[in-house]
């Protein structure tokens, strides 16, 4: 325990530099702006700045990416509070109480409670990440190829089992995952270095670059989606006219005391949800809201502006942001799309997240943990508070018909900058169009992207396991951990079907 504290302290000494602080602040600012614009998600912003991190020093690049991630997590609640338009799906739970509170002239109070809750939720979850990383990494080092392959398979099935409310969602989720795995096979075979699905194009020999695929499926496809539903924001002027009540220091302290229990409970709940691959922040925020309402002695004010109704979902969704990095840092498996983008940023910087990083270079890892902790405080108090007014103005005056073409150009130059080849932009168009078609037909794009990222690992580990066993697939069933994980994978899918059949809904 003391050892972890000492290493964390050394991590702070390494990471507490002016450059990293500026990286966090700039990233947080970008994240806040992106997260508060409906149609531009936090992940989209992360993906768009990813190519610009190629030339940055490793810790600065990760600091900026982390800033964007955390900034976007909080920003969703700004537009939810001011206009009842959640910038991110998870902010919808915050809007239940933050919008009514804002409408009653307590805009500053609603926004500050959301901010405090975000910082507390994120920080608690960061400490859980710090203290669980070393023991989990030690276990992960003992996993062989069969166990790792089974773990990846379990992660993917867990994602599928949590999709939507109908059986159709499960079928399409499964198909999305397989499509992602298929796209990941394009390029040279990882074991034999022979070509697969390259159609005579030498540009495809290295496969479809990770950054390109993520930009195409998450950013470009989303921009294509927006062309059909240009956001019409009709601001409710009544909120603007309401006389604003100042938020005193005494009031801040009372709210913090009043919401203390909910903050801790929601942070722990969010951390638990985040540590499980694929669940995401939105379910955590809604469960935390429901839990806060259920546990409250007097819940008559929930939905009318109860501070606990803001604190609980905000703390939970920010806790998810930090703890979703637990599978990434300890096992080397990204458990969410945002973690997958961070995984790409790590790889670009020549770092391979996972148990080996903890064993070979713990100082770098604790430096990163220190950065994660700093992000919440620097971003929350130095960037978010002064940004609130600016975000409000941007949101009201933003011209979407100019924004989305600019995003397309950013996508284009982002993928071009990776290999300095215009063929990448052609591939962006093809994959983006394909992603758009899939999305329009109800396929799950985040599941596809996760599978696309995990695909090469899954294939390598599966084939290595098969090589070890001399081609006998029973290796996956004879090892207890791998057998257990495969059983869980099958059980997750069976449970998902059973639950939806019980509901009696399909299509």
């Amino acid at each position: 325990m003391l050892d972890i504290f000492l290493q964390l302290w050394e991590g702070f000494l390494m990471s507490f530099t002016l450059a990293n602080i500026l990286g966090i602040a700039a990233g947080y600012g970008v994240g806040i702006i992106a997260g508060s614009i409906p149609g531009i998600m936090g992940v989209t912003a992360m993906v768009l700045i990813l190519p610009f991190t190629f030339t940055m020093p490793p810790l600065f690049a990760i600091a900026a990416m982390m800033g964007v991630y955390k900034g976007a997590c909080f920003a969703g609640s700004i537009t939810a509070t001011l206009f009842n338009i959640p910038g991110t799906p998870e902010a919808a739970a915050t809007a239940f109480d933050s919008y009514p509170m804002s409408q009653s002239g307590q805009q500053a109070r609603a926004l500050e409670i959301a901010l405090w809750a975000s910082v507390i939720g994120g920080t608690l979850s960061n400490f859980i990440l710090v203290f669980s990383a070393a023991p989990l990494s030690a276990i992960a080092l003992k996993l062989g190829p069969a166990e790792t392959a089974a773990l990846i398979l379990f992660s993917l099935t867990a994602v599928i089992s949590l999709l939507g409310n109908t059986r159709t969602d499960i079928w399409k989720g499964g198909l999305s995952v397989v499509i992602g795995l298929m796209i990941a096979t394009v390029g040279l075979d990882p074991m034999e270095s022979t070509r697969r699905y390259v159609f005579g194009l030498t540009e495809l020999d290295n496969g479809i670059p990770f950054v390109l695929a993520v930009i195409a499926f998450l950013a470009f496809a989303e921009v294509l989606e927006q062309v059909g539903q240009m956001t019409i924001i009709s601001l409710k002027k009544s909120g603007e006219k309401a006389k604003q009540i100042p938020y005193s220091w005494k009031g801040r302290w009372q709210d913090l005391k009043f919401c203390g229990k909910e903050l801790c409970r929601a942070s722990l709940l969010g951390s638990l949800f985040g540590a499980m691959p694929g669940i995401g922040a939105a379910p955590a925020a809604f469960v935390a809201y429901g839990e806060a309402k259920r546990a409250a002695k007097d819940n008559s004010l929930f939905g009318k502006g109860d501070p606990r109704g803001i604190a609980a979902p905000e703390a939970a969704n920010n806790a998810v942001a930090a703890s979703s990095l637990i599978p990434l840092v300890t096992l080397g498996i990204p458990g969410s799309v945002a973690a997958a983008v961070l995984f790409g940023a790590f790889m670009v910087q020549g770092m391979m997240p996972g148990p080996m990083l903890m064993r070979d270079s713990p100082e770098t890892l604790y430096g990163l943990f220190a950065l994660f902790i700093m992000t919440d405080f620097i971003g929350g108090f130095c960037v978010a508070l002064p940004f609130l007014a600016l975000v409000k103005r941007i949101f009201v005056t933003l011209n979407y018909s100019l924004l989305f073409p600019a995003v397309i150009v950013c996508c284009g130059i982002g993928v071009y900058a990776e290999e300095f080849h215009v063929f990448s932009i052609v591939l962006l168009g093809v994959l983006g169009g394909f992603g758009f078609l899939l999305h329009r037909n109800g396929f799950n794009i985040p599941a596809l992207v996760l599978a696309l990222i995990l695909g090469p690992f899954l294939e390598r580990q599966t084939r290595t396991a098969m090589l070890i066993s001399g081609g006998d697939p029973m290796i996956f069933l004879t090892k207890p951990i791998s057998a257990g994980l495969l059983f869980l994978a099958v059980a997750a899918i069976a449970w998902a079907f059973w639950k939806r059949m019980k509901k009696g809904s399909s299509g």
């Binding site: 159709t168 298929m182 096979t185 075979d189 070509r195 697969r196 284009g412 215009v422 168009g429």
Partner: protein, 181 residues
């Protein structure tokens, strides 16, 4: 409306099964095995894909029959289905069609943008691309379109110059640069 979405769903499943067949009988033998690569992993993925598509098809057909049965039983008992006007999107024309056309135009613009970058260079190509896409996205103020389409590529060019990275110059831009030199 229900029939439309069901037919669309059916078309999706048929496309999935057609892809699985094409992948199994043509793409894997031609572009994987013929290249000297082991086809085991792609074949395994294709089997899973085909099985999931088949499962989805069976589920879809069974659910469709169940729904039909439920409706006819209700109608036997004298229930008259009210006429619900279909929303504009489900009529196949209007918003959906317009959305499709806009997306197709944007994708076409992207491919033309790539071609133009190699001929007239990044700046001029991006100017044309932004003029086209801002129009597709609904901007009608020409002053805004021209200023934005000029300023944005300039900013990108400056950022790339600062990062000491190159953008496609194209034949025209290359000739202009040589002339200036």
């Amino acid at each position: 409306m229900l029939k439309n979405s069901e037919n669309r769903e059916f078309l999706v499943i048929v496309t999935l099964l057609a892809f699985a067949s094409a992948n199994g009988f043509w793409l894997i033998p031609e572009f994987v095995v013929a290249e000297g690569t082991s086809g085991h992993y792609p074949i395994l993925l294709n089997w899973i894909f085909a099985l999931l598509s088949t499962g989805y098809l069976i589920d879809h057909v069974v659910t469709r029959k169940q729904k039909k049965g439920k409706v006819s039983r209700a109608e036997d008992q004298g229930y008259v289905r009210p006429e619900v006007p279909a929303p504009l999107e489900s009529k196949g024309v209007g918003i959906s069609l317009l959305h499709g056309i806009k997306v197709a135009l944007i994708l076409l613009s992207v491919f033309i943008w790539v071609f133009l970058q190699e001929t007239i260079g990044f700046f001029f190509a991006t100017f044309c691309f932004l003029c086209a896409t801002t129009l597709i996205y609904g901007e009608r103020n020409w002053k805004k379109i021209i200023i934005f389409s000029l300023v944005f590529p300039l900013v990108v060019l400056l950022v790339f110059l600062l990062l000491n990275a190159t953008l496609p110059t194209g034949i025209v831009e290359e000739t202009l640069r040589n002339l200036v030199k």
